[in-house]
């Protein structure tokens, strides 16, 4: 009996493999009040469209819930949920407010067929405090175009009302919390649930369900709500592709309201890549018609270099591209560019090639374009000028050009390169509004003054100061972590450091050998730690695999955001070896093994789905030798992170984005120093795995 849940999982996995029948109806489900695909409170067998990213909110009685969900692949999806209960002290004295964060995973084992329903197996709150812990199997079948019928079986919370027995044995208590509650999965009382979804019109949907969640915690234990009925029903209104509203009668006693913001990272809000059209390629005269134009004698002219560099820089300035330097012979030109604005490496390369066609004398046949990041060459894209001319108006010119282009290691700066004296040293600054989240629905807004001083290629002095304008954060309860408080004093840093010196660093980036990149950063690395951070990365331009090593010596900073260290008097040496792997289709994996800030030793594994347009959604987990009890109620460090590029949302030509990392709980174990400019992400855009997915933009 002990292995039964595993048998069930094995059966479900096998049935997935067998279900090769084509899908009958595209099973795109709607979201429920928990932000997961489903009915009202119950889940369903369906999924969202691949890559759908949604933000859902629910208000019902004293409960507020916010959920982020992501359809990781066609079958797999996950959610991160934040919930707050008001009036928590109704029956039991204590805090008036309680909050919880939880994570879900769902996997669709069967896609809907002509006779077969869509079947999903799911884990709810599988690593948290366990307030929502439940497992389920749900099946959904479309009957015609308008009606969907769902039935399922739930365990845990979803098995708390109308149970039919415990097919896989009793449900043990889980301790400690925060670790995957695998011993509980599919154990204890199981209870059926069911529901219907009827599409009244294109915009309106009716939903009704029989719920198997008894709300024991909210009704019985805490007296927050009165769960008078297992029947929930309500209406949903789809305003447009991105917005859905719902109003429901819940538990026979409450009215619930939901709002879902539904985003498709694959489709730009603007409908396509915005920005001005490129200048057409300038074609050279035919060699037979004008052989003199191809004479390479111009290279001996002493002023040719500065004039060419200036002309090129002038053309590229319109696209936010700076010319670091230019080196040429009669037949080849190498230009090193710094792309400040265009979000796609391929487009920056295309714009540069077009500009070169206008500037370079006809004898120059080979264009070598080296994108430079933090002063170091990331790769070298070599384009033959005749291919550029010949393919400009050819059908499928993107694929044809890619076949003829080579991407190789950037190599050293040519000895005869002509740089721009105005480029170094250079001071840039900005003052921008900023938003910092400490947790879902909590954070502060403020102003960030940033400045960068580019001393020479690869030598960068930079820093930022942040000051709060408004915040709804508070000091909260002091950390009781038995470890050094390398992260759990975050609220103290937020509250007492205003304004705060976030960063003040001197960084040196280098290329010690082909395919090898290096970084050395010294100074105030982040708001909690300062010191020295060194990193080396090996990544051939066309390799899916990259290997890296990092070593840091850091001191913990004072909470006041100033320069001192006497408050903690803590220093530590941390270091990691890392492997990065691009699995294709935008899935990146990373494993880091080493010593963390609190002196603990362990490993971090992370998986991100990266979109060509800059969207990024990922999850990570770190397990170290810190015990779950010492870490805190969430057991070990884990969380999700996402980045939404401004270019995708607003159409603005920018490489900036809005990024958030969320954790179910913060502990001091598994913490890494947060240093800017880590190498892998800096250069990946210009390697083949970064250039190829949206290579078509080379002609944009």
């Amino acid at each position: 009996m002990h292995n039964s849940p595993r048998c069930l999982l094995a059966f479900l996995a096998a049935s997935t493999a067998l279900s090769l029948a084509p899908a009958f109806a595209e099973g795109t489900g709607t979201l429920n009040i928990n932000g997961a695909t489903g009915l009202i409170d119950m889940p369903s067998g369906e999924t969202q469209k691949d890559a759908t990213f949604s933000f859902s909110t629910l208000v019902v009685g004293p409960i507020t819930r916010a959920t982020l969900s992501f359809q990781v692949s066609e079958r797999l999806s996950g959610s991160f949920r934040f919930q707050a209960w008001r009036d928590w002290d109704t029956l039991i004295p204590g805090d008036a407010k309680e909050s919880d964060r939880s994570m879900d995973l769902r996997y669709q084992v069967l896609k809907e067929g002509k006779y077969v329903p869509a079947l999903t197996i799911g884990l709810i709150d599988f690593t948290g405090q366990g307030l929502f812990s439940s497992e389920y199997i749900a099946a959904t079948k479309n009957l015609g175009d308008r009606l969907k019928v769902t039935g399922g079986l739930g365990w845990g919370r979803l098995g708390s009302d109308g149970g039919i027995g415990a097919p896989f044995g009793d449900r043990p208590a889980v301790s400690p919390t925060g670790t995957p509650n695998a011993d509980q999965w599919f154990r204890g009382e199981a209870a059926p649930f069911a529901g219907v979804e009827y599409k009244i019109s294109d915009n309106w949907t009716f939903k009704g369900e029989y719920s198997s969640d008894a709300y024991l915690l909210e009704d019985g234990t805490r007296g927050l709500i009165d769960r008078a009925s297992p029947f929930n029903f309500g209406f949903e209104y789809q305003r447009n592709a991105n917005m859905r509203f719902g109003i429901y009668s819940l538990y026979g006693s409450e009215v619930g309201l939901t709002f879902h913001l539904i985003l498709d990272p694959k489709s730009r809000m603007s409908g396509g890549v915005t920005g001005a059209a490129p200048v057409p390629v300038l074609a050279r005269p035919a060699r037979s018609a004008d052989p003199d134009a191809y004479d390479g004698g111009w290279v001996t002219q002493p002023d040719a270099g500065p004039i060419l560099r200036k002309n090129l820089a002038k053309r590229l300035a319109a696209d936010g591209i700076a010319v670091e330097d230019i080196a040429y012979t009669a037949t080849t030109v190498q230009v090193r560019i710094r792309n400040g604005r265009i979000d796609a490496g391929s487009q920056a390369v295309g714009r540069t090639a077009r500009a070169l066609s206008h500037v370079m004398p006809a004898s120059v046949e080979v264009f070598e374009i080296v994108p430079v990041v933090n002063g170091i060459g990331a790769s070298k894209i070599t384009i033959r000028r005749s291919d550029l001319e010949g393919l400009e108006y050819t059908a499928d010119n993107a694929s044809l050009l890619r076949e003829r282009v080579t991407v190789t290691d950037a190599g050293p700066v040519p000895a005869y390169a002509i740089g721009d004296e105005a480029l170094y040293p250079k001071f840039t600054w900005s003052l921008r509004p900023a938003l910092r989240f400490s947790e879902p629905l909590k954070g502060d807004i403020g102003l960030r003054l940033s400045a960068t001083y580019d001393i020479a290629p690869g030598l960068i002095l930079s820093g930022s100061i942040y000051t709060q304008i408004a915040s709804n954060t508070d000091l909260g309860t002091p950390s009781t972590s038995p470890l050094q408080h390398v992260r759990t004093d975050a609220s103290r840093y937020t509250e007492s450091g205003n304004p705060t010196l976030e960063r003040l660093t001197f960084a040196w980036y280098g290329r010690p050998a082909p395919d090898v990149y290096s970084r050395l950063t010294v100074g105030y690395l982040e708001r909690m730690h300062a010191g020295v951070s060194g990193e080396v990365l090996w990544k051939p331009v066309d390799s899916q695999l990259a290997l890296g090593a990092e070593i840091n010596y850091t001191l913990q900073r004072n909470t006041d955001g100033g320069l001192g260290f006497d408050e903690y008097n803590y220093d530590v040496v941390t270091g990691y070896v890392s492997a990065y792997y691009d699995f294709g289709n935008g899935f990146l994996g990373q494993v880091d093994v080493g010593k963390y800030l609190a002196g603990d030793v362990g490993a971090t594994i992370s998986v991100d789905r990266v979109f060509a347009n800059g969207w990024r959604v990922g999850a990570f987990a770190t397990v170290t030798d810190v015990s779950a009890a010492d870490f805190g109620e969430t057991g070990f460090d884990k969380g999700i992170r996402f980045t939404i590029p401004l270019n995708w949302a607003l159409g603005t030509e920018t490489r900036r984005g809005f990024g958030v990392t969320m954790r179910p709980g913060t502990g001091d174990g598994g913490a890494r120093v947060d240093v800017d400019g880590r190498l892998y992400e800096s250069i990946r855009d210009y390697h083949t795995d970064g250039l190829d997915p949206d290579w078509g933009r080379v002609w944009r």
Binding site: V273, V279, P280, A395, D396, D444, T452, A612, T654, G696
Partner: protein
Amino acid sequence: MKLQACLASAAIGLALLAGCGNDTGSTNPVASAVGQMAKASLAKGKGDKAATSAATAPTSRQDLAAFGKPILRVRSERLGQDGFLTIADAKANVVTWTAQGQATFSLRDGILIQTRGLAADLMSAEAPSLEQLKSGASYPRVYFFLGQDDRGTRRTYACVASVVGREKITVLDRTHTVTHVSERCSRPNSQVTNDFWIEGKTIRKSRQWASSRISYVEFEQVID
């Protein structure tokens, strides 16, 4: 909740405000949004005099002829545009027309093969020749776009061109006698019909499909 709502609205407000500074990492979002609108206006703004006058006033043929260069009128219901374009580039039989360099349309012998600067651009196309259109040929037509997540994508249609007949059309106060050719293209669940009004070797007028979002664009060769 009130504070949270305040925070959220303040955040949105601030997000809309641009920062300041001297780094060129991005364009100002607000200015850019306004810019997009301005850019979308194909023939407005400073620069080319022909285009400027064309967009701002009902234009007479004489006014346009005075500029002494070829002019193409482009109309798109979906883009909400009606403007006059001048030549930005001509290579062999491909002419690229532009308004202020913000948007371009490339036509091979008058047949649309590329657009740029319209967001949902036609990136390239395998299109028929003028001879194929006139002779009522059958052929495949392939449109290339940047699709989901900016990945290259294509749509292949099976097309048949057929001569509708001789017609008289008026292009900015001038009557032309033309041959109307209709090109019907189909693929599963999708149909596209392009119409061409051909005068000798010139496509005097056409209504051509560019992409799902742009839909059809009308061209008139006003001044040769």
